[in-house]
Symmetry: C2
Subunit: 415 residues, 2 copies
């Protein structure tokens, strides 16, 4: 009688966009469930790789879905292997043409890496941290300079020899660029191989990535086979759409929620997420059971926004943010709301409304402030300001009041 | 009044197939004549690079045209920089797919390099040597392991970053292979860059190559510019056709004359070169003035064959080879001819003709010998042997006589 075919636990398959290979379910090299069963039998944790580029930006919720999955593996008893691409960040793009691959100094890279680790919860108890830094054996932080710095020319040639030009040009982005005549510098062909070699160096059982990483993750598996290592599975998660509900969440598109945003700002943004994106947000950013949530999209948004905010700031702060948001948007200011402060110290009085919004930094310029006020987006203590030239005579008149732009930006004015 | 525009000396331009760049004649970076004039003014020799792969085969006349040009530069007072690609030969082709890029051991590479240098005349006076090893300052022998062995990953990435995929795929052989779906391993894109980097490392003013090397030689110039070095000129010579007068001279095509062949063999082969190839042979392999040679192709062949043989073996040996060849082909054996010897010691008598030809190593097998004899290609002392079973009773009967196969293979039989 054959062994029963193992299936994947929910914490693992939740939100998964792709898993490969997915072949013979009884073969630990072909089916992740079989690998899990094998590892359990051997009493060893799986090694789950996630690579990050220490190129400096703050982590936002779009990034966090991969860390959440990594954390799920940790909580399942496995070892997260977080690879910090310090070496590649230091090299950057030698042609200087890529804005995303700027050459960074050793110090910059170290500073960025430490910022990342702090955001991931390095100094926090595991209950509030994104990753579990506490439990022994659950986290390895590795820097790829460890194995790349000493790589010499014969090794690089050997690595290059494992791939072909046709294979690289079949890769989606290379294919498009080659097709459109946009130059591809030769070293760009090396990066997927170096990323793949990371899997060889750390003996990964699983690599996590976004769906846009399929090529590179598959490369890791190929290279492991080439170097006679056990091979990894690729577990891909969707790319989270941003607050606009359409495009990828990305700082440059201005549709992000930062991991470190204050509760009110985070909650306010999240409860406005487009209807089409709500289910993905629930699945990828919370542990809520989608089926048990209310059908009403507005209620679903609130439940999701509350859960996500609570996961970062605790349930009390999240609930306060929820009630503050309701109050502010509704129009009646509440002196207790947890709103960021803006100083009036540098404001010259008497001050006109358009000047005030730019002087405290809510608008980038006086002209933008005029436009916003005319557009009806400006409020003081929940009351709409309609005249850009409305005048305020002194700081005392404004102190303690909340200035609001649109539905998400609030500043409590302080002396 | 502008300086007069310098022109290239005859020893340099003789036989040249391509020279690049060939721009502004007064610019030492754009015109080789101006570079020559500049170097002379500065009292420094030009550095003339030629790279060779120490992969083991003997040097033949096809190779020698590049060495002859290098020697011409030496005789013009310049420095030949002979680069032995020991590093790349040791790496070979890591995929093992290329028959021309076998991985060689350090010892094999060293042995091949020393064989090459011997053939180039390392132990000979400059009068008979192909290159001038004697005159101080005229020759630098460099091994590319000197600068490639220590090249680390950042340097390789920097090197790769100087080229683009489109540029590589425009290269003739890559273009054909990509077009026909024949895989191109990624490391193959690195080799032209490494060869180009050799020019950076040795500060070449000129690189010599066959016309099939234009891409790689141009790459050297590009890389020198990238590394803020003076840039080299590419001086390309034609690919010598083989004895068949049609295809490239190449060992695998069996149409070669080896640099170390004995005078009679060399002369005999050369005087049969196809009419269409004679002028190229004269231009590329001799210093003869083409215009002053007889028009009669047969006479021209003889003059060329004599000059080439003399350049390798001296005029006396060449003249003897010429007269021996005339005698042997004509049919009357001459005991004094300078013919290689074959020993009868291992031959069992009585011996039939077909057995004799294979036993002394003229034919690869008895069956081949039968076929050759039946085809009328076999002679003893100039007399055709027509019966494969013709019997010879003792070594004494044959000693001192010349056995001949076709028009080019001769063996003097010794006890």
């Amino acid at each position: 009688m054959p062994d029963s075919i193992p299936s994947l636990p929910d914490w693992l398959s939740r939100g998964m966009a792709d898993l490969f290979p997915a072949g013979d379910p009884s073969d630990a090299d072909q089916a992740l469930a079989a690998r899990l069963a094998q590892a359990e039998k051997e009493g060893r944790p799986l090694r789950v790789k996630l690579g990050i580029d220490p190129t400096g930006s703050n982590i936002h919720l779009g990034h966090s879905i991969l860390f959440r999955k990594l954390r799920a593996f940790q909580d399942g008893g496995h070892t997260a292997v977080l690879i910090i691409g310090d070496f590649t960040a230091r090299i950057g793009d030698p042609t200087g043409k890529s804005a995303t691959r700027v050459q960074l100094s050793k110090e910059q890279v170290a500073a960025n890496a430490s910022t990342y680790l702090r955001q991931l919860g390095q100094d926090q108890p595991k209950e509030t941290a994104l990753l579990d830094f506490e439990t022994p054996g659950r986290l390895e932080v590795r820097y790829n300079s460890e194995w790349l710095e000493g790589m010499d020319l014969p090794a690089v040639i050997g690595l290059l020899g494992t791939g072909t030009v046709g294979q690289m040009l079949a890769k989606d982005d290379f294919s498009k660029r080659y097709g459109s005549g946009t130059p591809i510098a030769l070293h760009e062909f090396l990066y997927p191989l170096l990323q793949g070699y990371d899997s060889v160096a750390v003996n990964a059982d699983v690599e996590l990535g976004g769906t846009d990483q399929k090529f590179n993750v598959a490369m890791g598996r190929d290279l492991q086979r080439h170097f006679n290592k056990g091979t990894q599975f690729g577990l891909l998660l969707p790319i989270l759409v941003g607050l606009d509900g359409v495009q990828k969440m990305s700082k440059s598109l201005g549709n992000v929620v930062g991991l470190e945003e204050d509760p009110l700002s985070m909650y306010s943004k999240l409860e406005k997420v487009g209807d089409a994106a709500i289910d993905d947000y629930v699945t990828l950013l919370t542990d809520l059971d989608l089926a048990s949530l209310p059908d009403n999209p507005r209620e679903k948004q609130k439940a999701m926004a509350l859960a996500v905010t609570a996961s970062r700031h605790g349930i009390e702060a999240a609930q306060k943010a929820q009630s503050d948001a309701a109050t502010l948007v509704g129009g009646s200011g509440d002196a207790g709301a947890d709103v960021p402060e803006a100083s009036l110290a540098e404001v010259n009085f008497p001050a006109k409304a358009f000047y005030l919004f730019s002087a405290v930094g809510i608008c980038a310029s006086s002209s933008e402030a005029r436009r916003q006020i005319k557009g009806g987006a400006a409020r003081l203590e929940g009351e709409k300001i309609t005249d850009p030239n409305q005048e305020f005579t002194s700081a005392a008149e404004l102190e303690g009041k909340v200035l609001q732009l649109g539905k998400k930006t609030f500043r409590r004015l302080v002396a």
